[in-house]
């Protein structure tokens, strides 16, 4: 087992490299004194940018479609967070090694990916495969614009692990490659698949005979019934992340007016946030605050506290993604009666453009291959192994998360009731899967930008018009900042 601290120095590691790494670690310990900012910085100027072109390769064959060198080690970094790292050591790496017994996998787990790898990127000596996730995630947009990530096109064009007649690209759920594409090129493999929606306390609803609302009017009726019993109808992620409420807000607006409104938001078009459907949806969300349908005090809570109270039966609805069940596993375990389920966000009007079953879903959990890696093809081959049916199915079984590999959860017995309902909702949605990209394209636009504005809306401190105006201001700021590389999408 390798821990995050003990790291085998790279074979070609120079004194400068080890020096930089140590200084960086020491700098983190010193904290905010500017020492870290400085010490790892200047002095790396003589970098070997063309290392990738010298990358070793083997012969391309049916058996080795990427042409990887069959005797070079692959250095792998896995974020040791909610998913742990056993799925890599006990599942994906054995699959990989079965095919490539001579390739040694140099596995590392890290809790703070950025702190461990930033100095190595600067030194031009990154590992071959990174699960760039967690709080210490390195900004993917910046990595791309600095030219530090390898283009994954060869991987997606290669035949899949299981069936040589189908490319990797064709085994993935729609939207997967797009979610990792910047400037027209795929740089990030998003492996886990997340379904977003309204999660509710199904046990409580059933006991009280409350129907699952399909329209906003029904939602308000149910909320009135719930509130009358002294239970709070809704929670959200409190002072930590009011932005979670943007998800039902934007989903409901999209169902009402169609996915074009999301395109104009993502493309930072002026007036995008002032679209009538969005205003109507924001008004609906604000009405929850006006009617005091939020759990008292939720505005000042940490997100885990708010979700914990929800899982303990003090509230009924909670907006989130399908990680919620894992995240609240301890609170759920305390309350044996609790049964969670997911519903698609209700329709604002019966003549909505998109059906009720429409859900927001997206590939997440990013994996990348650095452009300067010693063995980038080895990193991509590792991805190909992950994307095998066995790798994806095993991942779903082990960590209770869907994957981007189409059909990989079919036949998998999902015991977690929440995830099972998310899987069912995704199947019911068919092609009606929506998503928006501004949070991943422009991190600060969502947080703190829209996050803070929506926070004020949820405290009913501002009107819907003021909310839209302030969201516009946030978008304008991004639009006019020349230092931010802009992305666009169509339809």
């Amino acid at each position: 087992m390798s821990s995050s601290i003990e790291r085998t120095p790279a074979a070609a590691g120079t004194d400068r490299r080890t020096f930089l790494q140590r200084v960086a670690l020491a700098g983190v310990a010193l904290g905010p004194g500017g020492a870290f900012l400085a010490s790892c910085a200047t002095g790396g100027g003589d970098d070997t940018d063309d290392e990738a072109s010298e990358a070793p390769s083997g012969d391309v064959s049916d058996d080795n479609p990427l042409g990887i060198p069959t005797d070079q080690p692959v250095e792998v970094y896995i974020f040791d967070g909610g998913f742990g790292d056993e799925y890599a050591t006990e599942l994906h790496q054995p699959i990989f090694n079965e095919k490539w017994p001579d390739i040694q996998i140099d596995h590392h787990a890290a809790v703070d990916i950025g702190a461990e790898l930033q100095a190595r990127f600067v030194a031009g000596d990154p590992p071959d495969f990174i699960n760039n996730s967690g709080d210490g995630q390195m900004d993917p947009g910046q990595l791309v614009s600095d030219g530090l990530l390898a283009d994954l096109t060869p991987l997606f064009d290669a035949p899949s692990w299981d069936d040589p007649s189908v490319t990797v690209r064709d085994t993935l759920l729609p939207g997967t490659i797009e979610s990792g594409t910047r400037d027209g090129k795929p740089y990030v493999l998003n492996y886990a698949f997340t379904v977003f929606g309204l999660w509710y306390n199904a046990a409580l609803m059933e006991q009280n005979g409350w129907p699952v609302p399909t329209t906003w009017q029904e939602m308000m009726d149910v909320c009135a019934d719930i509130a009358a019993t002294g239970i709070a109808p809704w929670v959200y992620q409190g002072v930590t992340a009011p932005r979670y409420m943007n998800w039902p807000l934007l989903s409901m607006a999209t169902k009402l007016a169609g996915p074009e409104i999301l395109v104009s938001i993502d493309n930072l078009e002026p007036g995008a946030w002032g679209h009538e459907a969005i205003l109507e949806s924001a008004a609906a969300i604000r009405s929850l605050a006006e009617n005091s349908y939020f759990l008292p005090g939720v505005e000042g809570m940490e997100f885990r506290d708010a979700q914990g109270l929800w899982a303990r039966g003090e509230a009924v609805f909670c907006p989130s993604g399908s990680w919620l069940e894992n995240e609240e596993a301890d609170a759920i375990a305390e309350n044996p009666d609790f049964q969670m389920a997911m519903m698609p966000d209700p329709l604002l009007s019966p003549d909505s453009v998109m059906p009720l079953e429409t859900v927001r879903a997206t590939a997440g959990e990013p994996y990348v291959v650095p452009a300067d890696a010693k063995n980038p093809l080895g990193g991509m081959e590792y991805m190909r192994a992950m994307l095998s049916m066995e790798g994806a199915r095993g991942f779903t079984e082990r960590v209770t998360s869907l994957t981007s590999v189409a059909g990989s959860s079919e036949g998998v017995q999902i015991d977690a009731p929440g995830l099972a309902s998310a899987q069912a909702a995704l199947q019911a949605a068919g092609d009606n899967v929506i998503n928006w990209f501004y949070p991943s394209w422009y991190g600060t636009m969502e947080n703190p930008g829209i996050d803070q504005v929506t926070g004020a809306l949820l405290r009913a401190e501002i009107t819907v018009d003021q909310w839209a105006e302030q969201c516009e201001a946030v978008a304008t700021e991004i639009r006019e900042d020349d230092s931010i590389v802009k992305q666009t999408r169509e339809g």
């Binding site: 100027g45 910046q142 803070q452």
Partner: protein, 307 residues
């Protein structure tokens, strides 16, 4: 013996000076250089952009907010801490009077000493998390609101951490609370070195406790106060850990509790803009030095000599 003096001295001086230069001085110089680049922190490539980062800083409203908050911290926290620290220390050491005219601390002072010092033993992380739950809503375990409710002051209950106007004052409170213990101990040490006969003379002359405090204790521990003040101002200039833990990386609701340290961290690690972060770091360096010099000068007063 004179012969090899300089090589001998140099041989011993060079390693420490060299290490100091490499690890202490060069980072400052590098940070100043980086603040004039657009370095993202991820590549080896840096483009020199002159003072653009500083120009951007000038127009950055959020940074202004952070600066203002730091100003509040620098002015309020040291004053509160010193007043409380001096008061508690004098109570512990020379506050008691009843027992036969001897100059001692108030009753139970040995216990209080431990209690005051207690926060100093806890790490900032623990203090931050504990106080997050002091100010949390009642149903999420908030102690303050529960206490207010229990003593019939339910009207004063607030969602403390959701109210932008309170954030920085909550930080002031927490920082003061966590600092006071150390200064009580520091001032106690200073006060113990004051000869007892001075107090006895004051006592005989019928001086009140407050007069004794003002005319005897404070002048005689002033040097320590001055050092403590500067040290505290530097600590308050930082405030990073407390704010980060209690309010998060954006400085809480509407960024109202932001401080420069957080802004720097955010620019570097969330926005991958190490150049701008370094510029904030340089600003902090300059401000800290200005504050230190200003306090040293402003607080200078005549030394009292104990002959």
């Amino acid at each position: 013996m004179r012969h090899g003096k300089y090589p001998f001295i140099l041989a011993f001086l060079l390693p420490p000076v060299g290490i100091y230069a490499i690890y202490m001085l060069s980072p400052y110089v590098q940070a100043i250089y980086i603040s004039m680049t657009d370095w993202s922190g991820l590549t080896a490539a840096q483009t020199f952009i002159g003072f653009d980062n500083y120009v951007e800083m000038w127009g950055d409203d959020q940074l202004r907010k952070a600066l203002w908050n730091n100003l509040i911290l620098v002015l309020v926290v040291p004053v509160l801490t010193l007043l409380l620290g001096l008061f508690f220390a004098s109570m512990l050491n020379v506050g008691g009077r009843s027992r036969g005219g001897a100059v001692t601390g108030v009753r139970g002072s040995s216990i209080y000493k431990v209690v005051y010092f207690f926060p100093q033993v806890l790490s900032v992380a623990i203090i931050g998390i504990v106080f997050k739950y002091v100010f949390a809503p009642e149903n999420a375990g908030g102690i303050l609101n529960r206490v207010l409710g229990a003593i019939g002051l339910g009207g004063l209950q607030q969602l403390w951490l959701a109210e932008p106007n309170y954030l920085i004052w909550i930080i002031v409170l927490v920082m003061t609370w966590s600092f006071v213990g150390f200064y009580v101990v520091l001032f106690s040490a200073a006060m113990q070195s004051i000869p007892r006969d001075i107090y006895e003379a004051a006592l005989l002359d019928g001086s009140s406790r407050f007069t004794t405090f003002r005319k005897v204790t404070v002048p005689l521990v002033w040097d320590t106060v001055q050092v403590g003040w500067v040290y505290m101002a530097i600590q308050a200039m930082d405030g990073f850990a407390t704010v980060h833990i209690m309010l998060g990386i954006n400085g809480g609701v509407e960024g109202a509790g932001d401080v420069l340290g957080i802004a720097m961290y955010r620019e570097a690690f969330a926005e991958a803009d190490f150049g701008y972060a370094a510029a904030i770091g340089v600003l902090m360096l300059v401000l800290t030095m200005v504050v230190a010099v200003a306090f040293m000068r402003g607080l200078r007063r005549e030394r009292v000599e104990l002959a």
